[in-house]
């Protein structure tokens, strides 16, 4: 397995200005020193509650956010700052799928125009496949041809090319968003809560489809979600985030079978289970974890002003890392 993206000591701070001279008096640490690696052809899950900084990491990766410090390496090349991204034409390799397909598709453009947009900026590659380079063509006929191919991949009929976003259901729109992301042959797709707005049956369509394009084109995903059920199904590796820090990191099995940080346990205990017979027992367990979380915060966190700041990650096994003081020993 090869490393596709390596994120090293990434920090994204938002300055807080105040006082007479409007000087920077404090920083909000949206992302505070995180490192992880996305392998080629795999799905990396970023899990956390709202405000934990998971979307900020996604945005730094696609270039919608300039990191304060740290490094983003794409196949060993540094792409941390927006101008470094431009220099190697990195933006064609990394695309994004958003949560709300309604607001991320331009309502005044046809589906054909929407999907053609990235093709017009980056050119049409000779064939579809993650990272497939070669010559790129800017001919209109090639663009049209590719749009039809992409629609076919996401399972929409050719006539949709001249329709508008409002004519589609949520699941179809989300697949149009994926088709647009696929257009430039990206190596990595950052999917920020791609199915949280969808009904169960439609969610299943989109998730199956994402798995299929991963199998067919070896695309990597950074899958950002707060829904642990979906994350368990989709990902190979997971990082759990809280207040801009990673509290636990490991393979999906490590996290689900061997969670060690109280915050991870708290998230896991909150997943509603379909097993009705266990619900009282689960409620009791959930209360227990919650009590442990509120009463023993100093065991698991350092104080940083008013915010809880997780300790640095300590290695537990080859793949499993937990943010405990001295590794929890």
């Amino acid at each position: 397995m090869s490393k596709l993206v390596r994120i090293e000591n990434l920090k994204v701070y938002y300055p807080v200005r105040s006082g007479f001279f409007n000087r920077i008096t404090d920083n909000i640490k949206a992302v505070d020193d995180v490192s992880f690696t996305i392998e080629a052809g795999q799905t990396y899950g970023l899990v956390g509650e709202s405000g934990s900084g998971k979307t900020t990491i996604g945005k730094s990766l696609v270039g919608l956010e300039n990191p304060t410090s740290g490094k983003i390496l794409f196949e060993g090349q540094e792409v941390t700052q927006i101008k470094q991204k431009k220099a190697i034409n990195y933006n064609k390799d990394v695309q994004m799928v958003f949560q709300d397909s309604q607001s991320s598709l331009n309502p005044r453009k046809t589906i054909g125009e929407i999907i053609a947009e990235p093709l017009k900026s980056f050119g049409v590659p000779n064939k579809i496949g993650a990272g497939y380079g070669g010559e790129r063509s800017f001919e209109q006929s090639k663009v049209d041809e590719r749009v039809l191919e992409l629609l076919d991949i996401v399972g929409l009929p050719a006539r949709t090319i001249s329709q508008y976003p409002f004519q589609f259901s949520g699941g179809q729109r989300q697949r149009i968003g994926v088709a647009r992301a696929l257009a430039t042959n990206p190596r990595l797709i950052v999917a920020d809560e791609p199915v949280s707005a969808l009904d169960l049956s439609v969610q299943a369509q989109v998730l199956n489809f994402m798995k299929k394009i991963q199998r067919d084109y070896a695309i990597s995903f950074l899958f950002i979600s707060h829904d642990l059920g979906v994350v368990k199904y989709m990902t190979n590796n997971i990082a759990i985030m809280h207040n801009g820090r990673f509290v636990e990191l490991g393979t999906t099995e490590d996290i689900f079978n061997d969670a060690s940080h109280i915050y991870t346990k708290r998230l896991l205990s909150a997943i509603p289970s379909l097993d009705v017979s266990q619900r009282e027992a689960k409620r009791v367990y959930r209360k227990k974890v919650e009590a442990e979380f509120t009463q023993h915060q100093d065991t698991y966190y350092q104080q940083d002003g008013k915010r809880l700041r997780a300790y640095d990650l300590q290695q537990v096994t080859k793949t499993h890392f937990v943010a405990l003081e001295n590794g929890g020993v």
Partner: protein, 344 residues
């Protein structure tokens, strides 16, 4: 003890043949077709279904929130033996917020952004009880009841100053203000993080046990149903397709729609397998023939004869805790292996 049991079984809400039609382009289109259900005191009844299945339409009928000029509501909804259908706006005011409290999905848009939390809760009390003198104390008590320890400070704050979970707690406090017999919770936790969702669900459960209120829980999330409900009604295209106790529904699901939904849930599926994606979409309002089992259109391997067969209006009995629409459940099997590649 016997008294206790008696109290639990007391029928609170009884809906019979409730149909709702919306006037669209001059014609009435049926959105809800002959819904029958009842809720006892102290019971949590879940209405489950995807968007557009008619769950919220039913709740709005109980609250009398449909626009009478655009909507036809027929049938009978009795709350404590009082008929609700046909009441005027004025008469409804005696029930809304008094006997029935409502918790909405999005607390930010249901709370008044210009009013302090305390005042909003006080308003809910005073609108119905102008004489009440101890309003301030009641407000504090309600905030404490919903787990807001810092009641004094919170009652002086505005909605935007609170987190999503806190806002939902405030909504619940408002819904509880007049000790309603029935609480309608319409997707109460859909906008919340998992841990906050668990807290709010636990809170609703606690309140239900303490006040012995009936709860109509509307959700699309099967996990929430399994955590909360005593009985479940599964809705599809404006009709109830399955009605069962929560244990029956999850251990012994019958209707093809329920079984498809359970199969689409990713939480217990091996990552190597595809999820079951229900092909097709919910039919449009003007395309709903409620004499058929509309879900069968979305089961591609059934033949037309089965799909178009008329279905009895009465649900079929599986056992005393379990009723299903139509007869297809008796023979229904998934086609193996599930083929998801062809779907549009």
């Amino acid at each position: 003890m016997k008294n206790e049991v008696q109290r639990m079984k007391e029928k609170l809400l009884d809906a019979k043949d409730v149909s709702v039609a919306f006037k669209i382009a001059g014609e009435y289109q049926t959105a809800l077709h002959k819904v029958n259900l009842s809720i006892n005191r102290g019971e949590v009844l879940a209405l489950v279904g995807e968007s557009g299945s008619g769950k919220s339409t039913f709740a709005m009928s109980v609250m009398g929130l449909h626009n009478p000029e655009q909507t036809q509501v027929t049938g009978s909804i009795k709350l404590n033996d009082n008929e609700l259908i046909g009441l005027t706006e004025r008469q409804f005011d005696k029930y809304r917020g008094v006997s029935v409290g409502m918790i909405f999905q999005d607390p930010l848009s249901s709370l008044n952004p210009l009013m302090k939390i305390g005042d909003q809760i006080a308003e809910a009390i005073t609108v119905h009880d102008k004489q009440s003198k101890e309003v301030k104390n009641r407000v504090q008590q309600l905030l404490l009841d919903v787990g807001i320890v810092d009641a004094k400070r919170v009652s002086q704050q505005y909605p935007h100053e609170l987190s999503g979970g806190m806002r939902q707690r405030v909504m619940i406090a408002i819904a509880l203000a007049n000790e309603p017999d029935l609480i309608i919770a319409d997707e109460p936790t859909t906008a919340l993080d998992a841990t906050i969702q668990a807290q709010i669900l636990d809170l609703i459960k606690e309140i239900q046990l303490k006040k012995n209120a009936g709860i109509l829980l509307i959700t699309h999330d099967l996990g929430v149903v399994a955590e909360m409900a005593d009985s479940v009604n599964v809705m599809y295209a404006g009709q109830i397709v399955e009605q069962a106790s929560v244990e029956e529904l999850f251990n012994n699901p019958k209707h093809p729609y329920t079984r498809s939904l359970l199969r689409a849930d990713p939480s217990d599926v091996n990552p190597g397998e595809d999820l079951y994606a229900i092909p097709g979409t919910v039919p449009a309002l003007n395309d709903m023939d409620h004499s058929k089992d509309l879900f069968l259109q979305r089961v591609p391997w059934l033949n037309d004869e089965v799909v178009n067969a008329p279905v009895s209006e009465e649900l079929q009995k599986v056992n005393a805790q379990h009723y299903v629409r139509g007869n297809v459940w008796k023979t229904f099997e998934f086609e193996e292996p599930v083929n998801n590649e062809e779907q549009v």
